[in-house]
Symmetry: C2
Subunit: 388 residues, 2 copies
């Protein structure tokens, strides 16, 4: 049985009631570590490591003044493989869809917990770095005025310890709101109201390409995707303006290949499904866009290069005695955040080497090296004659 | 508990003794179906579905005149990723290696069981089609003279129900011997003796490129691989002339991409590891051969095309209302073999539709359609708007 602190039994009792499940069932989920306690100042937050009774993984449950509050995980967004049939079929009950940009960063929910804005990752951890950023970037009066709301958004930019991107003309890191939902039910705001509310508080929002009738949407989206692809942006979210039909996503080939390019630097760690799903998308897009020989060859070459070139770089660097690593950076106001973030990565089992802080204005820039032991060791062994 | 026929207990007793394991351990392996009975006229053959006590999967154990005989599975052959370090490291205890061709077909062991040559697949099944072919293609006196030997070889050519290939200038199907081993221990013949023995019986053998000192072998092999690649052949086996150090394999990029081209016709069935391992080989070969931009781009384009083009064909064909299938053919002397082969595929759970036999000389040609339900259904659903 997983050991919890002394007050836990009482807490679990109330939580079971809130979740409408027997105490024994909840205890079982805690024992199996499907529901886990956070640590440190957040140990009163329970994180759903798996989807339980309709509550998706990444959800967070906690007690506030004797009552329970639930912050639901990000809803799983399904992907269109062929735009036209997918849009017509998925949105068959509505007349028009809103197209917003899908950005390449990491997902964060920001919510007020114990009167402080807290940044929660996709998995339901409290990220100390993102929390500092949320406090800096967001007008805190929002959480005072709307303690029952959860901001969903993307943390985007170069000072990004997870998915750094230079493509957005962002100096450090920005938080782009793409959804506002209620605590408890997870009910979303309709798009117009969400954008109005976000702009009231001067929140940065994902780009809104427009609202299109479902008839013309696939063609419009194809054009948007081609434009976004040309500047290496990721893709779009296609949404019901009322947010009743769930949104779907569709992405650019260039972004797809960009993912592979980054992943294959650490080829020995590439998820097999990660590779497979990305190559399959290319095939469907090529069919739907009815490409000619030249465009097709460009697509095939882009795909092949995105796999082979980064692998070759890695093998060569290791062959020259280097060790490869994922190099990222963070920028903080408070050096305390660095200590918390180090502890956070340690808890998650992420191997990370932090540079000394470098003062820039009223902030500190730190580079972080995340060595990839698996790819380093495997490549080194093969260079020394190991077989596959 | 898996039900076996009445005599099984006695048989198991003896088998346990032969394998030097307790009867209870063997019974457990049979119960778990790690060791399985064959069917029909071969139900006295036990097949190892997994590696047990150093006896590799695909091994076959049976009783003959009260004694047990063991036909060991094909030894797992490891792969060189970088030729030079692999050859130097793997063969560091010997001075020279033999290079033979690795052909693209399916592996068969031919052995005399109850005084008849029988063809055993990699997994340890008795393939009725391959058995007829073995009887036609091989001088049976070999098995009379050497009842203790097992021929290892590749069934290659267009009349091939598993891996049909037109690249070898073979009219129907040929059996290329690449190894001769003893029953029981699996001890291999040294290469010269094996080639001499095989030629005594006029067996077709895999091509022998030569014996090279380990110093020059990597360079020689690179040249051989480039020549083989140009004619779409698969690759080479690199062997200790004495067959004491285990052989290793190395393959051509073109063959690698040919595998992907075939596999991606049925994209929804492609093993994730199958794809991953093939793309990784490309990266290492490109580094070792130190390719210039043009060669590299050719390699990247070849890789991309081998994935995207067959997928596109499939999606388009299904979009036009067709159903895709793997089309293969067999050529038999005895129509009885067709019935047995149908039953064999049925037992293995392979969906196959046989054409009517077409008489050609004293043989019958039959085409076999193996529909791929998974890729057909998935593609059809996406064409109708399903999401991933």
């Amino acid at each position: 049985m997983h050991t919890l602190d002394s007050k836990t039994d009482v807490v679990l009792d109330g939580a079971a009631e809130y979740l409408n499940m027997p105490h024994s069932r909840l205890q079982e989920l805690v024992d199996k570590r499907d529901i886990r306690q956070n640590w440190g100042e957040y140990q009163h937050l329970f994180r759903f490591d798996t989807t339980v009774a309709g509550i998706q993984n990444g959800s967070v449950l906690y007690q506030r003044n004797g009552n329970f509050e639930l912050i639901r995980g990000f809803p799983k967004i399904r992907r269109a493989m062929l735009l036209e049939p997918a849009v017509h079929n998925h949105f068959s009950t509505i007349d028009s869809v809103v197209v917003e940009e899908k950005m390449n960063g990491y997902n964060i929910r920001v919510v007020s917990i114990d009167d402080h804005p807290v940044a929660i990752t996709r998995s339901g951890y409290i990220c100390p770095y993102s929390t500092e950023k949320a406090k800096t970037l967001l007008d805190a009066s929002f959480f005072h005025d709307h303690p029952d709301l959860v901001l969903h958004g993307e943390m985007v930019g170069p000072d990004n310890p997870y998915v750094p991107k230079d493509i957005y003309d962002i100096e450090s890191l920005e938080f782009f709101v793409f959804d506002i939902r209620k605590k408890g039910t997870g009910e979303p705001y309709p798009i117009k109201e969400r954008r109005r509310l976000a702009s009231e508080y001067n929140f940065t929002q994902v780009h809104h390409f427009g609202e299109f009738s479902t008839d013309v949407a696939p063609e419009k989206i194809q054009q948007i995707i081609q434009d976004l692809g040309a500047i290496e942006h990721e893709g779009v979210m296609i949404k019901d303006p009322e947010m009743i039909v769930p949104p779907i996503k569709y992405t650019c080939s260039q972004s797809n290949c960009g993912d592979l390019r980054h992943a294959f630097k650490f080829y020995n760690e590439v998820g097999r499904d990660y590779l497979f799903s990305r190559v399959v998308r290319e095939g469907f897009q090529a069919v739907e866009w009815n490409e000619g020989t030249q465009q097709l060859d460009e697509r095939c070459l882009r795909l092949g290069k995105s796999i082979i070139y980064p692998m070759m770089d890695t093998i060569r660097h290791i062959g020259e005695g280097e060790r490869i690593a994922d190099n990222v950076q963070i920028r903080v106001r408070d050096l305390d955040t660095v200590d918390k973030f180090k502890e956070y990565l340690r808890r998650l089992g992420v191997d990370a080497i932090f540079s000394a802080p470098k003062r820039i204005g009223d902030e500190y820039l730190l580079s972080i090296k995340k060595p990839n032991r698996s790819t380093n060791d495997k490549t080194d062994a093969i260079l020394k004659g190991d077989l596959w």
